[in-house]
């Protein structure tokens, strides 16, 4: 195709389609670009290749049955999604969760945030050709998988949270397992950091690539590490603290230029901050109940259900009708690994949700993708794509 550019020069552009089945597009993103040589003159992104109908599916079940579906939104950090959803439902009930549950939720959120950042950085470096980092990072990640498996029974799709609490308490030796994992993670984080820190190839391929200004990023609704990489110091954990995040000691990591390098480094250092939060949370773990004793949301214990008529009926109702959320509409969000993950719930007062809308942090980042890559090379586009950490399950729902 031939075009005239702004200066009246005639360009011969080549149309190239990248994805959806391409190693760097994670199987479900499609980008079509007009190239002049190797420079991208225009890019258009298409999504929807993994649109699985989350929002339609959840309307058919009870609130508790939404939990497994939320696992598969951002499947790199499933527990964060579970917690976000249960927090949204709890806020509609206006219930306060127990102290131990709060600490455990903070612990598990940060734990999965570490895992998510590990996967993102590992995949990004592998896309850049640095396969070593992938092998380094997947050693602690496998340890994390074992801990998650012991704790929740599943490796990836954990469904750990419940409305009003958690699925179950920790197992014996959980703390030492986690501390062990943290130590290994710290080691591999610093190992990889040493590999890329002064690496000319890495720096040349990431610095100054895919820049975005804070104003544009905000207009695109960016949140989370990608927004912080542009220099905007905003973090829901600090700004609207939930689960007593204000009492933990951690820093928000902020970049300066909003390029690929900053985005990756913000994630690396954020993982370090998360490690320190997990350590603080472990120190705070005190024995206590993990589920609220509110008959509207939590099932009575087995002993009561077997001997007490009301408890039996309550249990029966909760299982068959589900949690009956008060009628109304509410939006509630928390800081997930990718940014603000929110759930907008419309309830009609029955046990089945009327409408649940997810606010996916990825979508906003991918919507700005053409701004990041236009003017750069095709290979830069690949580096850029992996640095914004698109998780298709969340993007397309």
């Amino acid at each position: 195709m031939r075009v005239l550019d702004r200066t009246g020069e005639k360009l011969d552009l080549l149309t190239v389609n990248i994805g959806p089945s391409h190693p760097a597009t994670h199987g479900s993103l499609r980008i079509i670009c007009g190239l002049e040589g190797e420079t991208i003159k225009a890019a258009v992104a298409e999504i929807g290749y993994l649109h699985r109908g989350f929002e339609k599916m959840v309307e058919r079940g009870t609130y508790q049955q939404v939990m497994p579906y939320t696992d598969r939104l951002n499947y790199c950090s499933a527990i964060l999604n579970n917690i976000a959803f249960s927090k949204a439902v709890e806020s509609m009930f206006e219930i306060q969760i127990t102290e131990r549950c709060k600490v455990l939720r903070v612990l598990m959120s940060e734990f999965t945030r570490i895992v998510d950042h590990l996967i993102c950085v590992a995949a990004a470096l592998a896309d850049l050709g640095a396969q070593t980092a992938y092998f380094y990072y997947f050693v602690p990640r496998e340890d994390a998988m074992i801990i998650l498996e012991k704790l929740t029974g599943a490796r990836l799709t954990n469904s750990f949270s419940r409305i009003g609490g958690l699925y179950r308490d920790t197992y014996e030796g959980f703390e030492t397992d986690v501390l062990d994992f943290l130590k290994k993670t710290e080691e591999s984080l610093s190992d990889v950091f040493k590999l890329v820190d002064r690496n000319r190839i890495f720096l040349d391929r990431t610095q100054g690539i895919g820049c975005i200004t804070p104003e544009l990023a905000i207009s695109y609704g960016w949140t989370g590490p990608c927004l912080r990489a542009t220099g905007v110091d905003r973090d829901l954990r600090k700004d609207q603290p939930y689960f007593d995040y204000q009492t933990y000691d951690f820093d928000t990591i902020v970049g300066t230029r909003g390029d690929t390098y900053d985005r990756l480094m913000v994630r690396l250092f954020e993982a370090k901050e998360s490690i320190s939060i997990v350590r603080q949370a472990i120190k705070r773990l005190k024995p206590g109940p993990i589920n609220v004793s509110d008959p509207r949301v939590s099932q009575p214990q087995h002993e009561f259900a077997y001997h007490d008529m009301e408890a039996l009926i309550n249990r029966f109702k909760l299982v068959y009708e589900g949690v009956r959320v008060p009628q109304g509409e509410h939006y509630d969000a928390l800081e997930a690994a990718n940014g603000e993950l929110g759930f907008f719930i419309t309830s009609d007062g029955t046990g089945n949700p009327w409408r649940i809308k997810v606010r996916p942090p990825c979508l906003t980042q991918f919507a700005a993708f053409h701004n990041l890559v236009e003017g750069g090379m095709v290979s830069d586009a690949i580096a850029c794509l992996s640095s914004i950490n698109i998780i298709a399950g969340e993007l397309d729902r």
Partner: protein, 181 residues
């Protein structure tokens, strides 16, 4: 094999003393095919994250001859579909399968690829066998890495039962030709 030995530069008497094996052509070809499967990971969703675990150090899928990941269908003979296939994705999957050259095998990984999983909705294909033939299904949501390995081993077993010549003959007959005499 003996014809080869007769024409070989090694003198005849010496060749007779060399150790050699006789076997069927099928056995040799299937041995080669089953131990050097080159997978094309058609990774769309969560199951692909477990595939990343599988390729990493602890599970090391390369032990089963599937060392070489190929991202082009023309150079691979094993198509692994990991994740949900939607109707938007379906023409692409079909096309990738058509681009693979025979012999080709397909593994459907996880509940979604096998049956649609718990996404019984307006946009997901209820099992990729609606689009392409499948050799091995793996259950699980997501399957454990061990299950992937078991599927690979099962596929190897399956390949060992195939017959190269009958396969080729069937394909020729399909086109209305016969084996050259």
């Amino acid at each position: 094999m003996s014809a080869e030995i007769e024409n070989s530069p090694v003198p005849q008497q010496e060749a007779a003393t060399l150790p050699f094996l006789t076997t069927s052509l099928d056995a040799v070809i299937n041995w080669g095919r089953s131990n050097s499967l080159w997978p094309f990971p058609f990774a769309t969703a969560c199951c692909a994250i477990e595939f990343m675990s599988l390729m990493s150090a602890r599970y090391d899928f390369a032990r089963f001859g599937t060392e070489f990941m190929r991202f082009t269908p023309r150079q691979s003979d094993l198509l692994m579909i990991m994740g949900t296939v939607t109707y938007k994705q379906a023409p692409i999957l079909r096309r990738i399968y058509e681009q693979m050259s025979a012999p080709r095998w397909v593994i459907a990984v996880g509940a979604c690829a096998s049956s649609g999983g718990f996404y019984d909705s307006y946009c997901t294909v209820p099992g990729i066998d609606h689009i392409i033939p499948v050799d091995v299904f793996i259950a699980g949501c997501p399957p454990r890495p061990e299950a992937y390995i078991e599927a690979a081993v099962q596929l190897q077993e399956k390949i060992k039962d195939e017959s190269f010549l009958t396969e080729r003959l069937a394909r020729l007959r399909d086109r209305g030709e016969d084996l050259p005499s």
